[in-house]
Amino acid sequence: MQLFKLSIVRHISWPKEDKNWIILLARIILFSYYLFATSTFGGSHLLTPQFSPVTPNVKLTFPHDLGAHPDFRIEWWYVTGWLETPDKKPLGFQITFFRVATAINQANPSRFAPKQLIIAHAALSDPSIGKLLQDQKSAREGFGLAHSKEGNTDIKLNDWQMVRDNSGHYQTVIKAHDFTFRLSLISSEPPMLQGDNGFSRKGPQPEQASYYYSEPHLKVTGTIIHHGKPITVVGTAWLDHEWSTEYLDPNAEGWDWVGVNLDNGSSLVAFRIRGKNDNEVWTYAALRDASGYIKQFKPDQIQFEPKRTWRSPRTDVTYPVSMRIQTGSTEWLVTPLQDDQELDSRQSVGAVYWEGAVTVTCDGKPAGRGYLEMTGYMKPLRL
């Protein structure tokens, strides 16, 4: 699972000296919560459609479920991974596409009616730069300029796209402001269904859930253009695909998530949703071995413990960038590729969080590489 605060009002560049930005930011954060936490939006209520609820015991079918599910309110395809340049330097990368159903304009016959929005986000983590390079886009579906199709993964947002062919190859092109990705991802194993056969709970209420599968150990080949130069890269990635209508518990404040491609062919995923009173609203962890056997851990078998913190010089937010995660009797130590993998997007997205490449050791020995995501560490603003 990967969660991410997003906003439709990207790119609004209010002036830096404008004191009102705090208010705007607060609004946008609120909006982001709205997007995840509730199912009622503004707009015309007369024609608010009923989104499909997420219910247990629904069998996921492939390739159909690789495509979009427009009847659900929100959906994302989230690719994270490690790349290696010809001179053996490691890079982290992240590509995310969101689909959001707006619940408004249902009766509007205009081709511009914003019934579905497509939002995308990409980041490149290069330790030689010392921080993340990132870019985002958003659009309404339509005119062949932006879409997320049903039946198989086929998402387009202007000149950003990700398409999966029938043989299981993903092709993705991201032309970001500071870099370009042209990557090909090949899955070598069947999707890893999270939770109860893909029904993944996020909170104490049964409807606080999503359909969730992962594709770990994706083989990555391709080119990235960085500093104006094309670089051939190879690597390993992790794809999460989730769709839901009601997601978070209202008491949730943030979450920590990690997904790791282990060197022995196993795949580890673990997350916890943190409550507002330092409590844990929900925890989950699963380990699939190379043979395909999945072991899921009970909440009391899972522990997240910060080992080292890093304070962002830009936002003064402190993140536990190194974490000890215990699943059953196994202890994992998560160490970042670089400390500063903070996405400070207050001028655009309006959210500050940490999303970065990490190495994982098990009992002191190198075990694998993956991505760690930490949200909700920036304290709520008081106005």
């Binding site: 906003s7 439709i8 009002v9 990207r10 790119h11 609004i12 560049s13 209010w14 705007l24 607060a26 609004r27 946008i28 609120l30 909006f31 709205y34 939006f41 503004g42 707009g43 015309s44 707006t102 619940a103 408004i104 304009n105 009766a107 509007n108 016959p109 205009s110 081709r111 511009f112 009616a113 914003p114 958003s138 659009a139 309404r140 005119f143 062949g144 300029l145 202007n158």
Partner: protein, 849 residues
């Protein structure tokens, strides 16, 4: 004595003794500069603001794609968005929508509404993004929400959360005011909503007004523009910001330039005043200068000394003028906004910035005008022979040198010739030059005229009467023509300007009035709530309307906008029934018309306004192509009609032709003729009872006329103000020259007193002189003004506004102004001369040494 000290001392002593005249000169310059600077500042600020507001709508785009008609199919948008050279394409649907219940003093109350795709507009025009309420972020995409600029909210007296009712054709749209806009310009009245919602709510599904383009880095704009223009074809225009600037500038340029010219005229009048006071002051000080020369002051030093006086007047007057002008501009903009009455800058609330460049120009203008005014007298004084100048009574000889008639005649002839030249960049530059030359020539000829006329009168009068006062006054005027001319300068200039402007405005008003009568033949006019090209009655509604009882005839009109040239404002296309037996029954034709039976059969006739001929070269009989409908069709210009309301051009065609071409069956306006004996009110009541009756607006021809003439009068208020100021400066000229003259004539009066003329009689002489001079000034001013009015009516107006008019002379008004001027100038002369005769006679004669 050092020359600097001498110069200082001479200046101070002169100013101390003749403070009033110095003050008058400075005030004249101050007023002239202030007026010119203020008008320039106001116009420039208003224009800049208007232009910036227009520009803010296009944001940071590199280019725009527009249709020749107001809207075009949205299918072009994805093509543009995916063009290889295009970084981002932002579609826009722009509408001017009628707001019911809002009455604007000037014109129809419409709100500009932009339908935007927030995801794209946020990059190109981030200032136009709506700020929703805290918990309603999706309002920016909602299909029932609108975001209003602060000025729009104030204008409509609404706030966030209120509902706004708008008329679209015969239907009403209710929108929720979801919030304000991030940043709009002060006074800018706009609303923003989602483009999908705008298409739906305003019944323009599938339509766009324009697409803003941001090009990729390194793309050559010129090449791209050329190629895209080529690819898109004649139905589209690809324009850059520059073109848009030009279009906005073209909208108001003629108005602004003409106003500035008028303001300069005030400054010009000031120059004559400087001339007259300086000339007389030089004459008065002839003895003084002769003494200085005899004491060793060189010719150049003397010239420099007199010019220095002028320069100081110029500097002080101009500086004061700049300050006053700035204060006037700030006050006017603060109280009335940027619109000076022309209606070009509605709802603009600009802030004045002290424009250093313009200030410098006006400072230089003020200074040079002063220098120009004092140059001739200074030159004469410097060149006078000291020995001769010592002698008393040769003042006239001194000024006579200025009275060479040939340069004046040359000015008049040249002025006449210039009237024959065409405009430069659509501005009547030569027309204004001709006006100036006529004024200069007319004034320069004054001495000759006054000699001729006053000698003649004097000759006749002395034969028939022996009335001392009259004979003395006449002989004085006949024998000192130059001094008379100097006094007359101001009167002549100001009165001729008043005459010219009054004749022009009257001619214009009478023509507009006649025209309104001609174009409003019906008994009642009905229109649907206006909103660009979307408004309209459907064929079913038309049928219902026509069937209303009491109506004998109904003419339906369809009007829309056509953009033929992206650097000019759109022209208006009006489709209506046109009487083919004689089109001048329908249209206010000029003489340029082809009778319908002579028209070729293979083309569609169109009738164009005079502006079309000037701006687009649509001359009578010309075959043209117009972007109407889908298939290219040939049209022939079958006639030229007079149009005083659409300065940027209008085309009329038959409704039946328009419908065949476009398949657009809607109409916007209806002209109704009633059956005999039917009351208008009765018909209005039954029309209001139609299902769509609430959306109809009714006007009687008398109301339209009254409104139009009211707008007309408002737009000329500023010119009346300028005339008044010109007259004040003219009167100041009379005051200055008479007080200077009478001072110079102290010894003459002393002598007269000695030989038995009473003080009262001297005052009478002054009165008679004053009234005779003013009378002559008025007669000549009228002649000159009439000539100038011909230039204004037949050259300046057609060249700047592209309409012709008939000449009408407002005798009564002019006579009244003449009488007021005569009385006030005579009184001024009397008052200024009064203190010259207060002294003792013996003392006065003593001056003659």
């Amino acid at each position: 004595m050092k020359s600097g000290t001498l110069s200082h001392w001479l200046l101070l002593s002169e100013w101390k003794t003749h403070l009033k005249q110095a003050a008058v000169t400075i005030i004249a310059i101050t007023l002239g500069v202030a007026l010119g600077f203020a008008i320039q500042l106001i116009n420039k600020t208003a224009f800049n603001e208007f232009s910036a507001a227009a520009k803010s709508l296009s944001g940071q785009s590199d280019m725009q794609v527009l249709g020749t008609q107001a809207t075009f199919s949205e299918l072009i948008y994805p093509v543009l968005a995916q063009h290889n050279d295009v970084e981002l394409a932002s579609p826009v649907l722009e509408l001017d929508v009628t707001v019911p219940g809002i009455v604007d003093k000037r014109k129809k109350a419409t709100l500009k509404i932009l339908g935007l795709d927030i995801f794209r507009a946020a990059i190109i025009s981030p200032d136009l993004i709506g700020i929703p309420a805290q918990n309603r972020q999706f309002d920016t995409l909602a299909d029932d929400a609108i975001f209003l600029s602060p000025a729009a909210m104030k204008w409509l007296s609404v706030k966030q959360g209120d509902f706004l009712q708008l008329h679209v054709g015969t239907q009403t749209v209710k929108l929720r005011i979801a919030g304000g806009l991030v940043r709009t310009r002060a006074g800018q009245r706009i609303g923003v909503m989602d483009i999908g919602a705008a298409q739906w709510r305003f019944q323009l599904i599938g339509k766009l007004s324009r697409v803003h383009l941001k090009l990729k880095q390194g793309v050559n704009h010129k090449t791209f523009k050329m190629m895209l223009t080529n690819d898109l074809g004649k139905q589209y225009h690809v324009i850059e910001d520059v073109d848009q600037d030009t279009r906005v500038a073209n909208m108001s340029r003629a108005y602004r330039v003409n106003l500035n010219m008028l303001a300069l005229v005030a400054l010009f009048t000031g120059a004559f005043l400087v001339f007259s006071t300086q000339a007389l002051s030089v004459v008065r000080r002839r003895n003084q200068f002769a003494l200085l020369r005899a004491l060793g002051l060189t010719r150049m030093q003397l010239l420099g000394q007199i010019l220095l006086e002028g320069i100081l007047f110029g500097i002080i007057g101009s500086l004061l003028g700049l300050v006053l002008g700035y204060v006037i501009a700030v006050t006017v903009l603060g109280i009335w906004g940027g619109d000076l009455g022309g209606g070009f800058f509605p709802s603009v609330q600009p802030r004045v910035h002290f424009d250093i460049f313009m200030a410098t120009i006006f400072f230089i203008l003020g200074l040079s005008v002063t220098l120009l005014g004092s140059a001739a007298p200074a030159w004469e004084a410097a060149n006078a022979h000291p020995a001769l100048a010592f002698k008393s009574g040769n003042e006239e000889a001194a000024l006579m040198k200025l009275a060479n008639p040939w340069p004046a005649l040359a000015c008049l002839v040249l002025g006449g010739l210039l009237t024959q030249l065409p405009p430069i960049i659509n501005l009547p530059v030569f027309g204004y030059l001709a006006v100036m030359l006529l004024l200069i020539g007319g004034i320069a000829l004054m001495p000759r005229f006054s000699v001729l006329i006053f000698s003649a009168i004097s000759f006749v009068v002395t034969r028939h009467t022996s009335y001392t006062v009259l004979t003395l006054a006449l002989s004085r005027l006949a024998n000192t023509p130059s001094q008379a001319a100097v006094a007359l300068g101001g009167i002549l200039v100001s009165f001729s300007l008043v005459v010219a402007m009054t004749i022009m405005v009257t001619s214009f008003r009478v023509s507009v009035d006649d025209w309104l009568r001609h174009i409003l033949p019906a008994d009642l006019y009905v229109r649907t709530a206006a909103s660009a090209d979307v408004r309209g009655l459907t064929p079913d509604e038309v049928k219902l309307l026509s069937a209303t009882s009491g109506i004998s005839r109904a003419d339906f009109f369809r009007s829309s906008k056509l953009m033929l040239d992206p650097t000019r404002p759109s022209v208006t296309l009006i489709a209506r029934p046109i009487d083919m037996t004689d089109p001048s029954n329908t249209l206010a034709m000029t003489d340029d018309v082809i009778m319908p039976f002579l028209l070729p059969k293979d083309v569609i006739p169109i009738w164009v306004s005079e502006a079309m001929v000037d701006l687009y070269g649509y001359t009578l009989g010309k075959r043209v192509k117009l972007p109407i409908g889908t298939s290219p069709t040939s049209y022939v210009v079958a006639g030229v009609w007079r149009d005083y309301s659409r300065q940027f051009g209008a085309i009329q065609m038959r409704l039946i032709d328009y419908r065949t071409l476009t398949n657009d069956q809607k109409v916007n306006d209806v002209a109704l003729w009633l059956q005999p004996g039917v009351e208008t009110a009765q018909v209005i009541t039954s029309l209001k009872n139609l299902p769509f009756g609430n959306a109809l607006q009714f006007s009687k021809p008398s109301q339209i006329r009254a409104l139009s003439l009211n707008i007309f009068d408002r737009s000329f208020v500023i010119t009346y103000l300028l005339e008044a100021i010109a007259i004040i400066i003219g009167l100041m000229g009379v005051a200055a020259s008479f007080s200077a003259q009478t001072l110079a004539r102290v010894k003459e009066f002393g002598m007269l007193r000695h030989i038995g003329v009473t003080r009262r009689q001297i005052l009478s002489i002054l009165t008679v002189e004053g009234s005779l001079l003013t009378g002559l000034g008025i007669i000549l001013g009228f002649t000159l003004g009439w000539c100038i009015s011909l230039i204004l009516v037949f050259i300046v107006n057609p060249q700047s506004f592209h309409w012709t008019m008939q000449l009408s002379l407002p005798w009564k008004g002019l006579l009244a102004v003449a009488m007021v001027l005569l009385i006030s100038a005579t009184l001024t002369a009397l008052i200024s001369g009064r203190h010259a005769v207060l002294g003792k006679a013996i003392h006065a004669v003593g001056k003659d040494w």
